[in-house]
Symmetry: C2
Subunit: 425 residues, 2 copies
């Protein structure tokens, strides 16, 4: 996995550590562009749009870059849609697929944002507020393939989307409010297996058959990235050709040319990110115990390891510039006062400890986690143990370093605390 | 567990939902005072201090209240100590026990903050910066009893504190810098078993014997609160008497009267907190599937359920004021686009789903999670899916409602985003 650290040369790492300080997130614009190009080349039979799943990394610069490169956007909440608009994204390029019906949906729709109803109640609320409109619906086709239960978003145990058996109910609601269902969305998790994709596409196309006005099928999820040597990336070309073929067959059978939409998050940003930290301590629990490398970052900055047992590749940047040949077996731990703050768990089991072999390091060396661009800065236990939220920096195409988020101060952290008597009369 | 909802009467719940909106944290000053009194009555043989573990809930009002009631403070980072000082806590009442040696320790110590060295390197750094001073050390006595691996902070697999076998090394460092070890700290996790406590106290007292100038033994951790009917609270009186007896025996044997310190976090705030949310949707995956109650809160506001499979008691507040006799079996889920956003997992297994029986509810009813005062607001995936950080409200002793934290705006959320070219020359 050395390749994922290529953009962070030792020279850059130490310059950034000196200027911005550690810990910090570092993104590579080249890798972001590369991933966007990959996604925009997704094979398709007819029309095509790729939507970036903003929740993976909602930093303003990244949204604007993807906008310029031709991506559209998927917002997981009304807030997320508004956030994207606030930083300059054209509302017409944003579609909301949310578990929570946005309170200000009228405002958002007037601006041009698109809405994808994910439950019968959402469809009913939408119909009531906007009778006679076109609408998209999310359907749970009854299959899922997440890499663990917590990222599996299809099937019986998933609350996401309208369960396929309720399609007659959808039709009733649509008729009641004069709605036309023109887009259909399914989402099956983060799997990389083409066979699962084939099944889902066919299930989804069967659902499309029930809605004569649907012109677009959105296939969310499943654009997985390998974070370690043993994990498998989704091969977009393989998956894409499967999907393309199914759309062509559907056309032959029905005469309907469907547009395709996909919604990658991880795929677009994961590899472009690194979390850079410093080794601040090295402790041991004796000959029957472990050697621990302690970092100045932790589960407060990057939570997915302690949350899922997700493994990120590690690279040491020795302070003296010389990587020793000698190895050591260590447990890498964070700086929070919580024993779960471990970066080397048993893969998929955050309660297990699995020491890893690294070049022998010293306090003061830098330690980087690779493939940390997705669900890292955006999904973290911000301010746990009162550590300030960390900065985000971009290495631009021209080699310049651009600060994308300032390090939080203690004053920022407590700015919203107050002592205000409420009038409840 | 009905008792934990007593302070949130239906009238108060609906008033707050109307004024502050949902979701919101609600704290009860009476319950905070009650818990503080309990802790301050901890049996002890000689001198005694109780330190509140700030990380459990660092809200300024709560810190100031506990300060007035006579508690001292335990800070898990240099930032946390400074945060407490910023809101008015006397630095001399704060002790830092951190995995990360604070960069500004000199400033903090000059103000009066106390320091507890948790590794040989920390002791060395302290000695180097402050030769000749008195110091506290944290020792890992080689035993632990957390309720799961992730909250077990003693034993071979814990990096916290100086492993007991390195005490000779501690003595060398102390001698080198003329330091006097006057306080000793052990911390064994969150167990409620008195037998474990007896072992730990005796192991800790054995360590004290090796340091003739130690006048205070700090026994951290272990002050557990039952969050559900099947969990067990730590009985402070039982534990306290065990500890008191051991201190008295130690005095008889050695002639040394030790002061006792304890550091509860959860015990002081857990029961005083409720997370109040609204039921926004109800979906089903058919007769072989589940019925899901969907809330306007989620893993972004209260993360410990999806993190540990931690169970919180649930209460429905019907919008029409009438609790139906009819029950239903439901999975309670959050509003994040992530299948792990489930509030009813298998206890201790966040990947499992365990539907619970609740009075039949309707969209628009309020749903409250009890025992949500500790590690809830302070340990959450803030801004995941771009949901704003939620408010905190206190019900004061006089019945007034006091806003302790304002709801975050989208502007607050992105205030630190920027696009600033860095000069790295």
């Amino acid at each position: 996995m050395e390749k994922v650290f290529e953009f962070l040369t030792p020279e850059r790492a130490f310059k950034l550590a000196k200027t911005v300080g550690t810990p910090t997130y570092i993104y590579d614009e080249g890798e972001l562009c590369h991933a966007a190009k990959d996604v925009l080349n997704f094979p398709h039979a007819f029309g095509f749009k790729a939507r970036y799943a903003i929740k993976a990394n909602p930093n303003a610069y990244i949204l604007r870059l993807f906008d310029k490169l031709g991506l559209h956007f998927d917002a997981s909440s009304g807030y997320e849609a508004e956030r994207a608009m606030l930083v300059g994204i054209n509302p017409e390029k944003i579609q909301i697929t949310a578990q929570e019906y946005p309170k200000n949906l009228k405002y958002l729709l007037e601006k041009g944002v698109l809405f994808n109803a994910t439950s019968c109640l959402q469809l009913e609320m939408f119909g009531n507020e906007f009778p006679g409109k076109e609408v998209s619906i999310r359907v749970n086709p009854g299959i899922g393939s997440g890499h663990n239960n917590r990222t599996n978003v299809g099937g019986l145990s998933s609350s996401f989307g309208i369960w396929h058996e309720w399609i007659p109910e959808v039709k009733k609601i649509a008729e009641k409010y004069g709605l036309t269902v023109t887009k259909l969305h399914t989402h099956i998790g983060s799997g990389s297996d083409p066979k699962t994709w084939e099944k889902v596409v066919n299930l989804s196309l069967n659902a499309v058959k029930k809605f004569p006005h649907v012109h677009t099928l959105n296939l969310g999820g499943g654009y997985k990235i390998a974070r370690t040597a043993t994990e498998k990336s989704t091969d977009l070309l393989v998956i894409g050709l499967t999907v393309k073929k199914a759309f062509e067959t559907f056309y032959k059978e029905t005469g309907r040319k469907l547009d395709l939409e996909i919604e990658p998050g991880t795929y677009l940003v994961a590899k472009a990110g690194i979390l850079l930290s410093k080794i601040i301590d090295k402790v041991s629990t004796g000959k029957d115990g472990y050697t621990f490398l302690k970092l100045d970052t932790g589960m407060n900055d990057m939570t997915r390891t302690t949350l899922y047992g997700a493994i990120h590749p590690v690279k040491i940047y020795p302070a003296n510039g010389i990587l020793p040949k000698e190895k050591e077996t260590v447990v890498v731990v964070g700086h929070c006062c919580e024993s779960g703050d471990i970066f080397t768990p048993v893969p998929g089991d955050p309660e297990g400890i699995l020491p890893i072999e690294l070049p022998k390091s010293r306090v003061g060396d830098l330690l980087a986690f690779g493939v940390a661009g997705a669900y890292c800065a955006s999904m973290s236990l911000i301010n746990y143990n009162s550590f300030p939220q960390i900065p985000e920096v971009l290495i631009a195409l021209d080699g310049k370093f651009i600060l994308l988020r300032k390090r939080q101060s203690l004053q920022d952290m407590i700015a919203l605390e107050c002592e205000e008597v409420l009038d409840l009369t």
